[in-house]
Subunit: 365 residues, 2 copies
């Protein structure tokens, strides 16, 4: 086991004290910030998540605040997704691409008003892209990272726990919608969203100084619900087919390569439009897909594993782990689009050797 | 000790196999890539570095290739430093700032020709800023991350080791200049530079596939020199006053705040010029400085430690560690410029309690 060397460069969060007290055993780094990856074990954490409720420090989902007269204009430039029908209490999954149509991030946009959005980012310094575009075009908009840190509450008992702290009105929040709820005199955006398929909320904690108070309020309210600290769980997210930017897709891939073509529907003259229109005509180069890998539990997937069809490389596995529930190794990979077919048998080359595997049309849950 | 959770998102490098075989015990993450931070111990690694020679996997110093008719124009927009006299075999330390004059990165530019530069970056996705500016302004330039991974050779025996592999001509390379040297049929940029004050080179390995061959060639040639694997060493870099972007400075600081005012000398209409001219007139807000912290070895500096003068907060320590050579804790901090004076006694608030400390005019070596 290799330790993580701590420094200010790998930022602590408003909730780090709670995470440490809960016994975090492994961190990932996400947007140069600590992201708890494991407490007891991946398997035990996963089982608990599916049965109870967890509080996740996802402060590393940093916000980009886009505010000012040109905010809507800038947002429309940044994504191939049509934002024209977005309501003021709505969250949108918005892939963002460069001039070549390559994915730069797959954030969630949170609309406050026509002249104010947050972009809740995956793992890349999208702030620099947005600032660069705004500077290059001379737009009248302020682009900055505010002191806002999401705290997720995930699991089948999430409604019950969040209702106990914020009131029953949170039960009425629809998927990818939000309400503003008061905590210690501050209005917090609470959205029905989160990086699991177990249901729950993301609370956008506006002001790090109240972070630990909210953490403690949730744990105090949820003792009988067996509330625990958790984090995005590798097993659950692969079973559920939740993509991870930087793992499963990079700037080398278009939204079409990633199965995100339905989000390419804007009429605006967004950055990358010409490239994406060409991609749509030509057809995707890659097909992102699920794989079942047979045999013993696979080692840690910390490098690309070649996917071989009749000995020829047709793609790579990007995320993989053993699933105790399905009693197989679950995986995500990219294969050449013209070679993909569900149910086809392939081989996968891991650092521990070659394994038999099968391409799948669907994820598990 | 908390482990690092490995994934493809935290990229391996062309040299990771060598680093692992050498027994890395702690990693940092830098530009979403593995950076070895410790092998035996910080103190033992530091002592060895000062006496012998080490090979460092600094592949995480990613390159941004800026190439095309508008390359020089874009470079001049990106930095307050005057690039007009830069020679074709020269490296320049080039702070880069946003419209507000805030530091976005402090990379080293490597000039190939007037229409081709590399930017060797510190820890932020500067690629996105450069691409964003180029896209926003519609410049005729290609901006991408090539498959180039620096390998540093540092320590008093670095000249001897690199000469054994590449020939005695490398001894003539001047500071922040480079020569192209052949290895396995590829021309590699070898610059006299590196993130220590012990002397040495950075070899820009162009093509990851030859990375381990070069690693092994260096180790084979240096057995009698006691060559070891290493990495930027926390003790040595603080003693030497080598700044770390993300630790010691962020986008909240101007070059003047960081003691980098001498690099603000361009006549071009670079981004942030108006803000920096205003800063220069007003005087810097912050003074980056060395501190000596008295008493027992300090804990890990993974959060900002308040610097107190007569009980009032005047700044924060951003990097600190115990120095076995100086038998004190060495530190870097930012204090309010109008409160700074060398030799002044202050207190520092660590997570382990309050310590006496003293501001210094100079670093140690």
């Amino acid at each position: 086991m290799v330790a993580i060397a701590r420094s200010n460069r790998l930022r602590r969060t408003p909730f780090s004290q709670g995470v440490e007290e809960a016994g975090v055993s492994a961190y990932s780094i996400y947007n140069r910030m600590l992201l708890p990856a494991m407490f007891e074990s991946l398997a035990a954490d996963c089982e608990h998540l599916k049965q109870h409720v967890q509080v996740w420090d996802v402060a590393c989902e940093r916000q980009i605040s886009v505010k000012g007269p040109d905010a809507a204009k800038l947002m429309a430039l940044l994504t191939p997704r049509d934002l024209s029908k977005m309501a003021d209490d709505q969250c949108y999954y918005v892939p963002m691409v460069d001039q070549n149509g390559g994915m730069l991030n797959d954030p969630v946009a949170v609309k406050h008003r026509d002249d104010h959005y947050w972009i809740s980012i995956a793992d890349s310094d999208l702030l620099l892209w947005v600032k660069g575009v705004a500077a290059g075009m001379g737009l009248n908009v302020s682009v900055e990272e505010p002191d806002v840190s999401p705290l997720a509450v995930q699991g089948p008992k999430a409604d019950e726990l969040v209702a106990r702290v914020f009131g029953d009105v949170v039960r009425d929040i629809r998927f990818f919608r939000y309400k503003r709820m008061e905590f210690q005199g501050r209005d917090l955006v609470i959205a029905r969203s989160g990086y699991s398929k177990q249901g729950g909320f993301e609370i956008y904690v506006d002001g790090g100084n109240i972070g630990m108070d909210l953490w403690q309020a949730l744990f105090a309210a949820g003792q009988d619900l067996d509330v625990r600290a958790g984090g995005p769980n590798l097993i659950e997210r692969i079973e559920s087919g939740l993509l991870s930017y930087g793992n499963d897709m990079t700037a080398a891939h278009t939204p079409f390569d990633c199965g995100l073509g339905k989000f390419v529907n804007s009429d605006a003259d967004y950055i990358g439009r010409a490239a994406l229109e060409k991609s749509r005509t030509k057809g995707a180069k890659w097909q992102l897909c699920a794989l079942e890998i047979f045999g013993d539990p696979v080692p840690t997937c910390d490098r690309h594993w070649a996917i071989l069809m009749n000995g020829e490389r047709i793609g790579q596995v990007t995320s993989a782990t053993y699933s105790p529930d399905h009693k197989i190794n679950v995986a995500i990979g990219m294969v050449q689009a013209d070679r993909f077919a569900a149910g086809v048998d392939v081989e996968v080359e891991t650092q521990a050797g070659r394994c038999d595997a099968r391409l799948r049309a669907e994820f598990w849950t």
